[in-house]
Amino acid sequence: MMPPGFETELIYSFVIILCSLMIYFGTKSIYKLSSYKGINYFRKAFLFFAVALFFRYFIKFILLYFKFGRIFDFKFGMIAMLIFMYFSLIAIFYLIYSLMWKKKKFRESYLHITALIITIISLIFIIPNLYFIINLLLFIFLVYIVYTKFRKSKKKNLYLIYTLLLIFWILNIIDILVPNFLPFQILIYLASITIFMIITYRVLKKIG
């Protein structure tokens, strides 16, 4: 018998992973034709979202099925957390970089190295407040970047969507780091799914 909440986690993860992979594979042909870097970074963001959500589901499954209080109580919990945090960070980095690559050019490897360093620092000190603060600071920084683009852009709706995506990303991280901390979890899940479905719809509409 499956523990309570299992179906919710399964549906949530499945929908987000499906949307992310639809975006990744749906944009394959236009990237192959154009080799446009912005499209590449955008695709990678959603590929890494899919991977992150997969590991998030794995962590949730372990927590629910074995009734661990925290993922670190599980033998391989640290590895699962490391993978989840790394991929969720790198997904956000690629999404933001897809918006700013024309003005600020740097090597993709720097994104990976930065994500890895933040992940490792967050996990070395297994204190919820510390890694929450690191992710919160990162969140504020990224919202600032999105906002500066928002002010100059005509695509106001797009930046609203991206800001909501950042908010739900940080809430997802909190949910994993501190289980059962968030009230109204189902509403957060529904809102996250809605955001991803809106982005998927906009992508598929444009690529034809």
Binding site: S29, S34, I39, F42, L99, L158, R202, V203, K206, I207
Partner: protein, 83 residues
């Protein structure tokens, strides 16, 4: 108005498509590019298999035709997500 890279590629491919096959020199003239930039573009188009050379003339490949048919989608997508 300055053309972006994708637009330049589209313009070159359109010229080739219109002429069905075209020699390098007339293509260079019609492309409105310096010779250095033109040859950079042509080499890139060959590498990406958007064009090929046949009897000293440049022709579109299937991928080149595909690029032209999907150009609006590509630009629309880039603009939609501000990439």
């Amino acid at each position: 108005m300055k053309r972006g890279k994708l637009e330049i590629i589209k313009d070159i491919l359109t010229i080739i498509q219109y002429n069905k096959s075209i020699k390098i020199t007339p293509l260079l003239r019609k492309s409105n590019l310096s010779s250095t930039r033109f040859y950079d573009y042509i080499n890139e188009l060959k590498e990406k298999d958007l064009v090929k050379e046949n009897n000293n003339k440049i022709i579109l490949t299937e991928k080149g035709f595909d690029y032209l048919s999907k150009y609006k989608n590509i630009i629309g997508f880039i603009e939609e997500f501000d990439l």
